[in-house]
C-alpha cells in the first residue's frame, strides 16, 4: 500500500523519461484508474459483464458540474453528490438488471446505457444541455459561494479545493490522492469476506446458493459500489475540466473500460491500473503521430522503403488510433485472455521452471557423480 502510494505520487518523476509527464495525461491515468478498478469490482470479482458503466461516469460528471453551478466551486460537495447520484442510479439499474445473468445482463445494462444516452439528447436537455454539453456560465447562482461571500475572480471561476485551484499538477495530485483512497477501499474489498463471496459467485453461483447464501444482495452491493467508483471518476473529470457531455455515456465508452480491465488482467488487483496506463499512454502517443513524424521515424530507410512503411503504418496512427485499439483488443482476447498480468505470470513461471530444471539437473549430476 505504501509502495503504491509512493508510486502514484511520484508518477511525474518516473514517467518523465517516457514523455508522459504532463498533468493532462497524468490526470487521465488517475481518473480512468478509479473507473477501471471500480469496474473490476463488478466484472473481475463477480464475472458480470456490464456494458453500461459509462452511464455512471456521465451521471457523475453532470452532477459535479451542477454542483459547481448551483452550490460552490469547491470540489468536495461536487464529489459527494456525484457519488451519491451514481450510487442511486446504480442501485436502480442494478436492481433490475441483476435479475438476469450472463448475456442477458450485458444486454440489459446496454439497454439502460443507450436509454440514458438517448435521453440526454432529448428529454433531459434542460439538465444535460444536449450536444453542447453542460458548461459553467457567468450567471450561475453558486449559493454557498455567495453565502460565504468568497471573492469572485474575473471571468469563469475554476474549481478549487479550499482555495487550491484544480489546474495542472495540483489537479493531478488531487486525483492521485483520490485514486489512492479508492485503491485502499478496493484492496479492502478484495481481501474481505465480502470479496470472497463475490469471487464465489464468479466461480459457481449455483453452489453459492446451495450452501445457503443469497447472492443477490451481494451482487447489487458490488454493482452499486462499482457504480460509485465510476461516479467518482466522472466527478473528477468534471473537476479537472468543468464540462460534461453525453458522449461520455455512449456504450463505446463502456467498451473502453472493459478493454482496459481485460488488457491489464480481469480480477487481478493491479491489472486494471496497468491496462489504463498502457491504453491511455498508447492513445496519447499514437493519436499524436502524423505523417511527418512517421517520415522522420523511417528516414533510415531508402526513399521507397520510407514511403512504403509510412503508407503502411498511416492507417494505424492519428485518426486511426481506434483501429490499433481494436486490433490490440482482439489479440489480447485471443492469445492472452488473462491480460498483461497473466503474461507476466507466464514469463515468471517459465523463468522459475527453467531455474528449477537447472537445479534439479545439477543435483542429479552431483548425485550421479557422488
Amino acid at each position: 500500500m505504501l509502495i503504491f502510494t509512493a508510486a502514484v505520487l511520484s508518477m511525474p518523476i518516473w514517467l518523465d523519461p517516457i514523455g508522459a509527464n504532463y498533468p493532462d495525461l497524468l490526470q487521465k491515468f488517475a481518473i480512468f484508474g478509479i473507473f477501471a478498478i471500480g469496474y473490476n469490482i463488478l466484472f473481475g470479482l463477480t464475472g458480470y459483464l456490464s456494458f453500461g458503466h459509462a452511464v455512471f461516469l456521465g451521471v457523475g460528471s453532470y452532477t459535479a458540474v451542477w454542483s459547481f453551478k448551483l452550490l460552490t466551486m469547491n470540489v468536495i460537495p461536487a464529489m459527494f453528490f456525484s457519488i451519491l447520484m451514481a450510487g442511486i442510479i446504480a442501485a436502480g439499474i442494478g436492481y433490475v438488471s441483476l435479475r438476469r445473468s450472463g448475456i442477458y445482463f450485458s444486454i440489459l445494462t446496454l439497454a439502460f446505457a443507450q436509454m440514458f444516452y438517448n435521453l440526454a439528447y432529448s428529454v433531459l436537455m434542460p439538465i444535460t444541455n444536449g450536444e453542447t454539453g453542460l458548461q459553467l456560465t457567468m450567471h450561475d447562482p453558486r449559493v454557498i459561494d455567495v453565502a460565504f461571500s468568497r471573492e469572485v475572480p474575473e471571468g469563469l471561476p475554476s474549481t478549487d479545493f479550499f482555495g487550491i485551484s484544480m489546474n495542472g499538477y495540483s489537479g493531478f495530485y488531487f486525483c492521485a490522492v483520490m485514486l489512492i483512497l479508492a485503491f485502499f477501499i478496493y484492496l479492502k474489498i478484495f481481501r474481505s469476506p465480502f470479496g470472497m463471496k463475490l469471487k464465489g459467485i464468479k466461480s459457481n453461483q449455483k453452489r453459492m446458493k446451495y450452501i445457503g447464501s443469497d447472492t443477490r444482495p451481494y451482487l447489487i452491493t458490488a454493482f452499486v459500489i462499482s457504480g460509485m467508483f465510476a461516479g467518482l471518476a466522472g466527478s473528477l473529470m468534471a473537476v479537472t475540466d468543468p464540462l460534461a457531455g453525453a458522449e461520455r455515456m455512449q456504450w463505446t465508452a463502456s467498451g473502453e473500460v472493459i478493454l482496459m480491465t481485460i488488457l491489464g488482467g480481469v480480477g487481478t488487483v493491479y491489472g486494471p491500473l496497468l491496462g489504463v496506463g498502457i491504453i491511455k499512454y498508447l492513445e496519447n502517443i499514437f493519436s499524436s503521430i502524423n505523417e511527418s513524424v512517421l517520415n522522420n521515424f523511417f528516414s533510415f530507410m531508402p526513399q521507397w522503403g520510407e514511403s512504403l512503411l509510412t503508407s503502411l503504418t498511416m492507417p494505424f496512427v492519428g485518426e486511426g488510433w481506434h483501429l490499433t485499439l481494436g486490433l490490440l483488443f482482439m489479440l489480447i482476447v485471443i492469445f492472452l485472455p488473462g491480460g498483461v498480468m497473466e503474461g507476466l505470470q507466464r514469463i515468471k513461471d517459465s523463468i522459475m521452471n527453467k531455474k528449477n530444471i537447472e537445479e534439479s539437473e545439477a543435483t542429479a549430476k552431483e548425485s550421479s557423480d557422488g
Binding site: 459483464l49 435479475r99 438476469r100 448475456i103 442477458y104 443507450q114 483488443f329 485471443i334 485472455p337
Partner: protein, 338 residues
Amino acid sequence: MDAILIQLLNGLDKGAAYALIALGLTLVFGTLGVVNFAHGALFLIGAFCAVSFQKVVTISKKILDPNITYFDAYIEQPYLEIWMGDTGLAIIDYAVPLSLFFAVPIMLLVGLAMERGLIQFFYKRSHAEQILVTFGLAIVLQEIIRHFYGANPIPTPAPDIVSGSAQVGLWIGLGDTLVYPWWRIIYLISSVGIITAVFSFLNLTTFGMVVRAGMADRQMVGFLGINIQRKFTIIFALAAIVAGVAGAMYAPILPPDYHMGMDFLVISFVIVVVGGMGSLRGAVASGFLLGVLQSLAAMTAVSSILPGIEQIIIYLVAVIVLLTRPRGLMGRKGVMDE
C-alpha cells in the same frame, strides 16, 4: 389515419432491416453457439459494397463542357457512358440493385473468412470472451471502412425509375394523400422475400433439416456421420449474405457511414434477446414489432404526451420483456438458460 399508416410502413421498413440482421444473429447463435458482435459490421460491409460499386461505375473523365464557350469549363463524364452510351448510363442508374450481384459473393467470402479465421476458435470459450473478441473485430472493420471512405455519410441513390413515390393510398382506397417512396416498398417486399427464402431453405430442404437437427442436438447429428461443423460454417456465410444484402439495399434509404453497423447491431441484439435467443421466428417477429413500435412512438401525437419516448421505446420494451419473460417472447427452453 394517413400519418399512422405512413408510420406503420416506416416501421415495417425499419423492422425489416432489424429483422434481417437479427435473423442472422440468432441463426449464428443457434448453430454455432457464438454471440457475434461483429454482425453489424457485416451489414456495414454490405452497404459499402453498394457504395463501392457505385463509385467504380461512376469513375469519370474530365471533358470540356460543350455548352459553355467563353472559357474552358470541364464536366465529368463517366467512362461507362463514353464506352457504352445509354447502356452505360443505365448501369450507373441501376448501380444499387446491380451491386447485389457483386455483394453476394463478397459477403460469402467475408463470412467464410470470418468463421474460419476467427470464430471457430471461440466455440468453446465463454460468451463474455466471444462478445469481446467480436466487439474488437467490429471496431477494426469499422475503422478500416472509415480509413477508406471517410467519416461522412455517402449518398447512394436508388434507380431513377423508383425514386418517386407510390400512390399507396389509391391502392387501398384511401385517397391520393397517402404516398410512400417506391424504393422503401421494394425494400420491404424483398426483405419479406429473403426471410421467406431463409425459412423455406431451413424447413424444406434436406440441408436445412440437417441444420435444424444440429441445432437441437449437435452431438447426435455428429454420431450419424454428418459433418455438422461444415454445415454450420455454411450457415454462418448465409447469415453474412443476408446481413450484407440487407445493408446494400438499405443504402439508398440511409446514406451509409462507418458507424451504421454498430448503430444497427445494438438494436438488433436487443431484438434478438426480446425475441428469444436461438428462436428464428422470435427474431423476425420482434424485429418487425419493435420497428413498428419505434415508428409509432415517433409520431407527434405520441411524443407530445411522452416526450422522448421514440428514443427509448425499444430499450424500454426490452427491459420489460426480459423481466417478465426471461427467455424472450419465443425463446426455447434450454437455450441460454442460466
